[in-house]
Symmetry: C2
Amino acid sequence: MAESSEKARKYSRDHAERFRHELLEFLRFPSLSGDPAHADDVRRTADWLAAHLHALGLQNAKALPTSGHPVVYGEWMGAGPDKPTVLVYGHYDVVPAVLEDGWDSPPFEPVEKSGKIYARGATDDKGQLFIHVKALESYLEANGGAPVNVKLLIEGEEEISSPNLAPFIKANLDMLKADVCVISDSSMRTMNEPAVTHSLRGMTYLQIEIQGPKDDLHSGFWGGATHNPALALVEILGKLYNPDNTVAVPGFYDDVVQLTAQEREMIAKNPLTEQQFKDATGVPATWGDSKYTIRERVSARPTLEINGLWSGYSGPGPKTIIPAKAGAKLSSRLVANQDPEKIFQLLKKHIESIAPPTVKVNVSLVTKGKPALIPFDLPEMQAAARAYQKGWGKAPVFTRGGGSIPIVADIYDMMKIPVVMMGYGLDSDGLHAANEHYSVEMFHRGIETAIVYLKELAEMASRRKALDKTGARAA
Amino acid sequence: MAESSEKARKYSRDHAERFRHELLEFLRFPSLSGDPAHADDVRRTADWLAAHLHALGLQNAKALPTSGHPVVYGEWMGAGPDKPTVLVYGHYDVVPAVLEDGWDSPPFEPVEKSGKIYARGATDDKGQLFIHVKALESYLEANGGAPVNVKLLIEGEEEISSPNLAPFIKANLDMLKADVCVISDSSMRTMNEPAVTHSLRGMTYLQIEIQGPKDDLHSGFWGGATHNPALALVEILGKLYNPDNTVAVPGFYDDVVQLTAQEREMIAKNPLTEQQFKDATGVPATWGDSKYTIRERVSARPTLEINGLWSGYSGPGPKTIIPAKAGAKLSSRLVANQDPEKIFQLLKKHIESIAPPTVKVNVSLVTKGKPALIPFDLPEMQAAARAYQKGWGKAPVFTRGGGSIPIVADIYDMMKIPVVMMGYGLDSDGLHAANEHYSVEMFHRGIETAIVYLKELAEMASRRKALDKTGARAA
């Protein structure tokens, strides 16, 4: 008779087509957390997901209210109190997407094409979180139970830096109590290079708004004696960078934990060459702080990016105005131990100090999140390595992630449990961009690896218990 | 019995309400020449105007095709070949406008409120050109004829720098033959300060487009080693200006005809104070090249403005991308003797020379137009001064205009006739901005002044003829 994880894996293969169909249904919801106009869509997504978990037989499956968008929760505690409990974290919200951004098909009308599912959220994070839902379903359906207890915590505000999740966790520490947290919201370079992420960058996201004249002005009548707000913005933004491409804001790098020679050596084992970078992104050449390798720059060093710029007229043909307003969205990716609030204050203070008296300048915080750095020699991390070896077919590398999952630092701090980031995405999935997609093969191999990971965690706990007993006898 | 111009003035007063009603009808057309989506609207506007001229009894009233938008033509030659012919130039096209720009009412649903007509095009230039149509109608209806011959040339591409009008004039020099050209497409500071404009700035309008990665990138995964196109744009734009607010492009000022002490003295008679500038525009402080007065900066000196900036995300909340593209619209207001094409080449060459190898930069010309400088001691100019004295009630000042009417230089060059700019707008009309409006009083006083100007031109011609005969006898 086949072992339970084998039966669950077989079940997942037998029901692969239905699983994909359900994912497509999930992807149809335009759950844009950052746009108030989509608040209802976000709520409908949460309701759909909670109903789905309930239908699978999970207990307490609900969309729970927060001050912002709901958190979806559900649990299966049938393994019993002597078995470990796994907390799966994911997010059902997505970043904005409109067809005009260059999509080949509408971003919320998912299509499967050449082994890929195209939709906003396909890889970030609906497709990846759904892996854990389907892994648990496979155990329950194939065996009537799973080897460990599982709790699902799926939020709806990750893309706006999770303003309400830390308070939610703090208020529900008993309900959420677990031995390990697993998150699939990261990626590997190729299908053959699985990765467990042990570090993430934090974020400070801000907005600059400049007002010059009270209305747009005719550039002929007023041009020459009006400080153009777009020019004022250009002048301010230009002063935020040094000629060597580092950030020119005083104090910005003060709290950065410098990379040790040993860490740099480990990072060098997973290189990112100029050519690889160019092939993946299409840029004519790489850029940045030449004191660091490309891989270090995109994962272990802080940044300051312009995410958006706007002023005046951008339609076809000419319009001869001096714009009344100009604005920019800016965000810093932060590394340990930079504090997001402190970085915001440094940026705000610096921008205000260089703002000219000819315009009005306003700097406001949009969102923020802490960076995280987790030891990769924990047993829960090593169990993940074995799960990849057996479920995926290849042992993973441990890497630093350049992105931000703000809640990782919070869970690690508040719950005192390891956070294991098993990313089932590909670097080339185009997340946050047009034509975001998710590999069908990735989805199914992910489910099988997640199935094996639950078994590995159960066995790890058994070994630990046996070791404890031996220890007790010896005492 | 009342004299013919008096009868025409009375007629214009008796029919004032209908004249306004017809103007409102004219303003309903969204004749945006710069947006291909509005090409049909532009054509419909031309057809309406041609039909209107035909109905007034003008000959050859037609919307004539060009390579772009049609030219509307119509003539009344009933004064006979021994009388002078006046060519009236105007434009029926407008710059873009949408309610979201801050309009209190839809820009193409004109409303009359507190003595002002609110609509895009109200002052620039539908309202002003309509003055001449109604002045001619008043003569024809009240007297059965006018004291001079009148030709109307109303184009539909002024706001995109009249790409097809110079060729049209060149091809129709016989049809358009006239003794003087009159244009109402400029403004005075207050109702009590009528102005005749004797100089206009030219224009070079260009667009910069920058491409970095082939698609928007996730700022976490790629940030730190990608040259953000928005930053590249900021760096390039920043290098186009000197710290003293002058243009840093080599050769930019080379051909500028320097102001003489006498000209500066004349300009100083029509000052623009810091406080007046602030009150009119709402800026916290003025800006510019401190070697020149505010009035000189906005009329007699060239500029380089950013008319639009765009990159990445500008919606609500955060979006953590590195934008694939960034762009800007830039325009220079030029003074005699700067050549628009030469200035474009200087700008393009300079921008390309400072473009970094990490992005692709494209510079393209949008539109261009020559500056104009016309002697103000010509008899046709002095006739305009008398027309204001009698029709408006106050003699005008002769001023330099900061705006551009590209065709002024072309008419002056190609037809060798004086171009008299009798502006019936107010500086505060908000042209090219939200809530553009036109003073009802201005409209009606403009019609009466235009009526008197036709009479003054006829009398000027009679005097000249008498003088010629005297001269012939004496010879």
